[in-house]
C-alpha cells in the first residue's frame, strides 16, 4: 500500500468527481420527465400535448352534416372540390357551438375573395378559369351573376 501513501490528495480529487457524478445521477432521476424515452429520445407526452391543440377549421364533412342541401348543390357544380371553409373561413367554433346560429359566419366579400383565385395572371395555369375583374364585371359584385356554390354560367347558375 506504499504507493498510496503520498497520493492521498489525488484520491480526494477523484473522490470529489465520484461524489459530483453521484449527485448528478440523483438529480437526473428527479429532473428528467417521466415519459422521456418512451418512444425514442424525446418526451413521449409531447405528442399528446401537440395533438390537444384547439381546432379552428371544422372540415367539410362536419359542414355537410348540417348543410347537406348546399353540399349537394356544390357537388354538382364547378366548385365541387372547393371545401366550404376555403371561402367561409375557419368555422369550428360555429359548428361546435350549442346553438350554431349564435356564432354565425360572416359572409365573405366576393370582390376580394373571388378575385384571389380568379384574377387573370400569366402565372396561372392556362386551363384555370380566370378573368380581368375590371373588364369582366365592370364593377359589379361577382355574385350579381354567379352563384358561389355553383358558379358555372351554363349550368343554370345565373341569378
Amino acid at each position: 500500500m506504499s504507493v498510496f501513501k503520498d497520493a492521498g490528495h489525488l484520491f480526494r480529487f477523484a473522490g470529489l468527481f465520484v461524489l459530483a457524478f453521484l449527485v448528478f445521477l440523483v438529480v437526473r432521476h428527479f429532473v428528467v420527465p417521466k415519459s422521456f424515452g418512451q418512444y425514442g429520445h424525446y418526451r413521449g407526452a409531447a405528442m399528446g400535448e401537440i395533438a390537444a391543440h384547439p381546432i379552428k377549421f371544422a372540415g367539410h364533412d362536419t359542414c355537410e352534416t348540417c348543410h347537406a342541401d348546399v353540399a349537394d348543390v356544390k357537388k354538382a357544380g364547378k366548385h365541387a372540390h372547393v371545401n366550404c371553409e376555403a371561402c367561409h373561413g375557419a368555422q369550428a367554433q360555429h359548428a361546435s357551438a350549442d346553438d350554431p346560429s349564435t356564432v354565425k359566419p360572416v359572409l365573405p366579400d366576393t370582390a376580394v375573395l373571388c378575385a384571389r383565385c380568379h384574377t387573370a395572371s400569366a402565372a396561372k395555369p392556362k386551363s384555370f378559369p380566370q378573368v380581368v375583374p375590371a373588364d369582366h364585371s365592370q364593377g359589379l359584385a361577382c355574385n350579381s351573376c354567379h352563384k358561389p356554390h355553383s358558379p358555372g354560367m351554363d349550368a343554370g347558375g345565373t341569378k
Binding site: D6, L10, F13, F17
Partner: protein, 392 residues
C-alpha cells in the same frame, strides 16, 4: 423585404446565430491554443517557452470559464440548458460538446493547474490570512502533504494529464468545428476540413494570445521580456500559421476547382457582402501580413527591439484575423440563401442581449478572470515564498 437581394426562403431572412456565436468558437479556440503552448513545455520540453507555461494554463482557464456565457445568452430558454447534460442526444455534436467541455475543464485544465500549483497552494494556505486563507485551504482538499514523493507523483500524473490534454484540446475545438462542418444543409460550413481548420486556427490564436499577454503583463510588472521565450513562441506561431493558411487555401482551391452548385452563390457573396471581412481583414490583414512579418523575423536577423515590436503587431493582427475567420464562417454561412438565389444582411444590434456591447463585454471579461487567477495563483516565482511551516 428589407435588406434582401434576390430570393430567400421566407424563414431565412433573419439570422439565427449572432455575433455571440462568433465569439464562442473564438474563445474556445484561445483555450485550446493556450493549452497547446503549455503542452509544448510540458511534453515536448521546449525549455525556452517555460516562462509562459503557467500563464498559458491560467489563460486557458480564464477563457474556458467565460466560454459558456455567449451560448447561454443566445438560448431562447437558458434555464433549460441542463437538459443537455441530463438527456444529451448522442447524434448531436452540440450535446456531445457539453461533455467534452466538462471533461476538458475538470479532468484536464483544473487538474493540471491544481497539480502544478499544489505545493504553493498548501504553503499559501498556511501563510495567508482571512478569506484568502480559507480559499487556499479549500483548494488543498484538506491535504497538506507536500513531501518530495507526493510532488514527484504530482509531476508524473500532471505529465499524463497534459499528454491526455493534447488530444482533449483537439477534441474541444475540433468538436466546435464539427458542429459547423457536419451541417450538410449549409455548403459554406459542410466540409471535413472544418474541424481541422478550426483546430489549427485555434492554435494560432491561442499562441498569439498568450504571447501578447505575456509581453503585456511583463511590461506592466516593469520587468524585462524574455526575448528567447518570445522568439521561440513566434517561431511556433509562424509554422502553425503556415499550416493553417495552407488548409484554408486548400479549401478555397478545392471549391473553386469543383465549382459545384453552391460555388457561384458563395463566390458572389465573398466578393460583395463578405469582401471586407474576408478578403481585407481575414486574409490580407489577419493572415498574410502576420505571416510575412513573422517570416521576416525567421529569415533576417533583426535587433531585439524590432523583433518584439513585430511580434506584438503580428500577434494583434493574428487575433483580429482569427476573429474575422470565425465571423466569416458563422455570419457568412447565414448571409446566403439555401436556395442559392439570394442574400440577406446581418443587422447587429447595440444594446440587446445579443448585441455588440454584450459581445465586447464578453471579450474583456476573460481578462478580468485572468487578473483574478493571476492574483490567486501567481504564475511567476513569488519573491517571498514562505518555507513549509512546521505544524500550523
Amino acid at each position: 423585404m428589407n435588406g434582401v437581394e434576390g430570393f430567400m426562403y421566407p424563414n431565412e431572412v433573419g439570422l439565427q446565430w449572432s455575433v455571440l456565436i462568433v465569439l464562442y468558437p473564438f474563445i474556445t479556440g484561445l483555450v485550446a491554443g493556450a493549452f497547446i503552448l503549455a503542452s509544448l513545455v510540458r511534453i515536448f520540453r521546449v525549455e525556452a517557452i517555460e516562462p509562459t507555461y503557467r500563464l498559458a494554463l491560467l489563460t486557458a482557464l480564464a477563457f474556458l470559464l467565460v466560454a459558456p456565457l455567449p451560448l447561454q445568452l443566445h438560448l431562447g430558454h437558458p434555464e433549460r440548458s441542463p437538459e443537455m447534460y441530463f438527456t444529451p442526444h448522442s447524434t448531436s455534436a452540440m450535446a456531445m460538446f457539453g461533455y467534452v467541455y466538462l471533461w476538458y475543464l475538470m479532468a484536464v485544465l483544473v487538474l493540471e493547474i491544481w497539480l502544478d500549483y499544489r505545493r504553493e497552494i498548501v504553503l499559501w494556505s498556511q501563510s495567508s490570512k482571512g478569506l484568502l486563507r480559507l480559499v487556499y485551504k479549500v483548494m488543498t482538499l484538506g491535504s497538506s502533504n507536500i513531501s518530495e514523493r507526493s510532488l514527484t507523483i504530482d509531476n508524473r500524473v500532471g505529465w499524463i494529464v497534459t499528454l491526455i490534454g493534447i488530444p482533449s484540446a483537439f477534441l474541444l475545438h475540433g468538436y466546435v468545428g464539427f458542429i459547423f462542418g457536419s451541417i450538410k444543409a449549409n455548403p459554406w460550413w459542410s466540409s471535413p476540413l472544418m474541424p481541422v481548420v478550426f483546430i489549427f486556427s485555434a492554435m494560432v490564436s491561442g499562441i498569439a494570445g498568450v504571447m501578447l499577454l505575456y509581453m503585456a503583463i511583463t511590461k506592466l510588472r516593469k520587468l524585462k521580456i524574455d526575448v528567447h521565450c518570445v522568439d521561440s513562441i513566434a517561431m511556433y506561431l509562424f509554422y502553425i500559421f503556415i499550416i493553417d493558411f495552407s488548409l484554408e487555401m486548400l479549401d478555397l482551391i478545392h471549391r473553386i476547382y469543383e465549382a459545384d452548385e453552391s460555388f457561384r452563390s458563395l463566390n458572389f457573396m465573398v466578393h460583395t457582402q463578405l469582401y471586407f471581412s474576408h478578403i481585407v481583414v481575414q486574409i490580407c490583414l489577419g493572415t498574410l501580413t502576420p505571416i510575412v512579418l513573422l517570416g521576416i523575423t525567421q529569415v533576417v536577423k533583426l535587433p531585439e527591439i524590432v523583433r518584439k515590436r513585430i511580434y506584438a503587431v503580428a500577434g494583434g493582427l493574428t487575433l483580429i484575423g482569427i476573429f474575422a475567420m470565425r465571423w466569416n464562417v458563422v455570419i457568412g454561412g447565414q448571409l446566403f440563401s439555401k436556395s442559392f438565389l439570394g442574400y440577406t444582411t446581418y443587422k447587429m444590434s447595440l444594446v440587446t442581449r445579443e448585441g455588440l456591447l454584450v459581445a465586447v463585454f464578453l471579450t474583456i471579461l476573460p481578462l478580468f478572470f485572468l487578473w483574478a487567477l493571476v492574483k490567486l495563483l501567481p504564475p511567476w516565482p513569488v519573491k517571498t515564498l514562505p518555507e513549509a511551516a512546521a505544524g500550523d
